[in-house]
Amino acid sequence: MEPTFIYTLVLSATLFTFGIIGVMWKRNAISIFMNVELMLNAANLAFVAFAREFGLIQGGPLVLFVMTVAAAEAGVGLAIFIAIYRTRRHIRADEIDLLRG
């Protein structure tokens, strides 16, 4: 087992953690979105690392799926942000709380 595998996993976990912290912390919706992308890519990295380490073919296609989903998500999400911005003139996530109980 090469040490690069472990390093790759550690990198993936770090990226994921950064992503999560960013999602929780950031107030701007675009920033949150970028952090979500970071998390997705951390996961992709982990997929690829596992696939390479164990010689499995499934990792590659899964990464492609994830990227497709991420692209679709970005399309839909950005469209929502633009719609919100048109009515509120901002996209601060903490102030968008219409569903508050």
């Binding site: 999602v23 929780m24 996530a93 508050r100």
Partner: protein, 752 residues
């Protein structure tokens, strides 16, 4: 004509219906419909009377029953194939006929009078009372109910009428429902009071009827009498011991029924509604007091006389209650200021007399007093109404006086009726009261005649308070206020005619029942009593036979009832001559007492309200207060029962609010506050949701990390268990059907 006697209530129901439906349109016609219907009933009643007089020569005739229809049948009620059937049936006998005649006759006069009374003079022209047709619809229904009551052949039909008059009295007493009656009572309240008090009595009546039915198995009057007299039930078995002479249950049943009578006929303890019944229009007061309603209780007791004679305890209670009521109400009547109030207490007092008569066994005497009282009390009320009408609804006698010169006809009628009720010699009140007092004296036997003494004192007081109303109203100085003085006038002839007729008859109807001692060999003797005897003396005869007493039918004048109540007759029955001496003596003394009473009234009130009468009130201040405040009887009921009920209701209400509602509302409030707390979690911020989700996932992962072995072993167990379970059926099929290929195939599936 007897078969068509059902026409009498039917006509009145029809008249009530027509007036009720055309209440907005009929106008003046309503009154004409009513009095003509009543007059027609009166004609039918008198035809029936003459037929009954003819029939009663036959000693075996015990009334004619007219079956209209079967009201309801309960098959197999008393056992197999024995139906309990209540018939809608009428029964005509002497007692019924008497009531029919005087109720319809007085009713006709009252109705004619009412067509005049229910109009007001407004600036020169007469105007009908706004509720004219409504009034006549109600009084017609009132009369119809009374006719149903006296015609009913069984207790159930009688009960319809009983409740009907109660309902109509409520409607009519509360006729001026938007007007106040006294300082703390509206007319609607007075109506409600009458209804509620009557309902309390009715509960007693129902219990009594239930007890009788339970013991005797029938509601029919004739059958009840037959069963009680023969001592055998309809199926031939003997009646229960407690329904024999002096038995516990028959005493209880008759007592309960008498309690109903105290409600309807305004006796202690339920008399308080009658004085407040003055809230109704005066013709209604006259109807209630003279003909319908209050006589119902007396009728019921006389109708059930066999049962009453069989329970001497009840008879004693009836007599004592009657005497006490007569006395108490007479004292209350002495100081009342309202003319109708004074007359109302007079009615209560006279009803007490009637029950005293019934209770001491003089059933016919009691009924005869009902009969004579109907004439003079009807006259008194209508004359009082005439005065009140003339003075524009002024009822206070202290604001009257000297009306004789304005209203001579009314005065004449009122004076005649006063003489009669005060027991002036040879007037009707003299004869009827005398018979009751004589019976009360007889019933005491060898003991002290306490009831007679009370009755005599009451007779003096009756004369005093009646004289007082007469003198205060019609004599002395005028004390009218300006409004009344403007309006005072003699009433129109359709009002004066009925009162003069009633007053005149009130003087002379007494000659229908002249006691033997006073016939002096020329007058017909006790015709009324002889006529009624087959009905109302049945109980006395039966009990006399039962106890081995000789009844004295030959003279007829010795009231057998009181002697039986006295209980010391038999071998040593007083010689008839001695009786007649005693009776003559008593009659003379009671006549003297009546005149004495009128004299006392003249002395104090003859000149109206003078220093002399005021001094009288001052001298006997405590007694005056006792009388004027009606022994605080109403106040007692108000404090104990009305306020007590309110207090109880309030306590229950508070408990309901605190405990029951508290529990329900508490649960609701609890849920709400929990919800209020939990709502904060839902703050609408995506990032918070994300954080919670993240924490959840973390915890899930931690569980995997540290509880992994546990989790794995569990899931392994489950897998094996499932395997075993799935193996079993295939094993069974192996053994049973020898399908061998299936099992390895399954194994492979599972392993995969």
């Amino acid at each position: 004509m007897i078969e068509f006697v059902w026409l009498i209530p039917a006509i009145m129901f029809l008249a009530a219906l027509v007036n009720g439906l055309g209440v907005r349109r009929l106008g003046k016609t309503a009154g004409h419909i009513a009095w003509m219907a009543m007059a027609l009933c009166c004609v039918i009643s008198f035809v029936v009377l003459f037929q009954v007089i003819g029939l009663s020569h036959d000693p075996h005739w015990a009334g004619t029953k007219i079956l209209l229809w079967h009201w309801f049948d309960i098959p197999n009620f008393f056992g197999p194939n024995r139906t309990f059937s209540v018939e809608m049936a009428f029964h005509v006998d002497q007692l019924t006929t008497v009531f029919l005649c005087f109720v319809s006759f007085i009713g006709t006069l009252v109705f004619i009078y009412a067509t005049g009374y229910m109009k007001e003079k407004h600036g020169g022209h007469l105007e009908l009372d706004p509720g004219y047709a409504r009034f006549f619809a109600f009084v017609c229904l009132f009369a119809a109910s009374m006719f149903t009551l006296v015609l009913g052949a069984n207790l159930a039909v009688m009960f319809i009428g009983w409740e009907g008059v109660g309902l109509c009295s409520y409607l009519l007493i509360g006729y001026y429902f938007d007007k106040p009656f006294s300082e703390n009572l509206s007319c609607a309240d007075a109506g409600r009071k009458a209804f509620v008090v009557n309902r309390i009595g009715d509960a007693g009546l129902l219990i009594g009827i239930g007890l009788l039915f339970w013991g005797l198995g029938t509601l029919d009057f004739a059958q009840i009498n037959d069963v009680l007299i023969s001592g055998k039930l309809a199926d031939g078995s003997p009646i229960p011991d407690s329904f024999k002479y002096g038995g516990l249950l028959i005493t209880a049943a008759t007592l309960c029924m008498f309690f109903g009578a105290t409600g309807k006929s305004a006796q202690i303890p339920l008399f308080t509604w009658l004085p407040d019944a003055m809230a109704g229009p005066t013709p209604v007061s006259a109807l209630i007091h003279a003909a319908t309603m209050v006589t119902a209780g007396v009728y019921m007791v006389a109708r059930m006389n066999v049962a009453y004679f069989l329970s001497p305890g009840t008879m004693a209670v009836v007599a004592i209650i009657g005497a006490l009521t007569a006395f108490a109400a007479a004292t209350m009547g002495l100081t009342q200021r309202g003319i109708k109030k004074a007359l109302a207490y007079s009615t209560v007092s006279q009803l007490g007399y009637m029950f005293l008569g019934l209770g001491v066994g003089a059933m016919a005497g009691g009924i005869f007093h009902v009969f004579t009282h109907a004439f003079f009390k009807g006259c008194l009320f209508l004359a009082a109404g005439s005065v009140i009408h003339a003075l524009h609804h002024e009822e206070d006698m202290f604001k009257m006086g000297g009306l004789k010169k304005y209203m001579p006809k009314t005065w004449l009628a009122y004076a005649m009726a006063t003489l009669a009720i005060a027991g002036f010699p040879l007037t009707s009140g003299f004869f009827s009261k005398d018979e009751i007092l004589y019976s009360a004296w007889l019933s005491a036997g060898d003991g002290v005649p306490v009831l007679w003494i009370i009755g005599v004192i009451t007779a003096v007081m009756t004369a005093i308070y009646m004289g007082r109303t007469l003198f205060l109203t019609f004599h002395g100085k005028e004390r009218l206020d300006d409004h009344a003085r403007e309006h005072v006038h003699e009433s129109p002839s359709n009002m004066t005619m009925p009162i003069l007729v009633l007053g005149g008859l009130g003087l002379i109807v007494g000659f229908l029942n002249v006691p033997h001692a006073l016939t002096f060999g020329v007058l017909p003797e006790a015709k009324f009593h002889h006529f009624l005897a087959p009905v109302v003396d049945r109980g006395a005869e039966h009990v006399a036979a039962l106890r081995g007493f000789e009844t004295d039918h030959a003279t007829g004048m010795v009231p057998s009832g009181p002697l039986i109540v006295a209980g010391n007759v038999g071998e040593d029955l007083l010689p008839t001559a001695q009786h007649h001496h005693a009776e003559l003596l008593l009659a003379i003394s009671s006549a003297a007492l009546g005149i004495l009473g009128l004299g006392i009234a003249w002395w104090f009130f003859g000149a109206g309200l003078t220093e002399r009468s005021r001094k009288l009130a001052r001298t006997f201040q405590p007694l005056w207060k006792l009388s004027f405040h009606r022994w605080w009887w109403d106040d007692f009921y108000n404090t104990v029962f009305r306020d007590g009920t309110m207090l109880k209701a309030r306590a229950v209400w508070k408990t309901d609010v605190a405990v029951v509602d508290g529990a329900v509302v508490g649960i609701a409030e609890g849920c709400r506050s929990i919800g209020r707390g939990l709502r904060r979690i839902q703050n609408g911020q995506v990032q918070t949701y994300g954080l919670v989700m993240f924490i959840g996932i973390c915890m899930f992962l931690l569980y995997f990390a540290f509880g992994l072995n546990n989790f794995l072993s569990q899931s392994l167990d489950e897998t094996q268990g499932r395997k075993v379970l799935q193996m079993e059926p295939s094993k069974r099929s192996l053994q049973g059907t020898e399908v061998q290929i299936e099992e390895p195939a399954r194994e492979i599936v599972l392993k995969d």
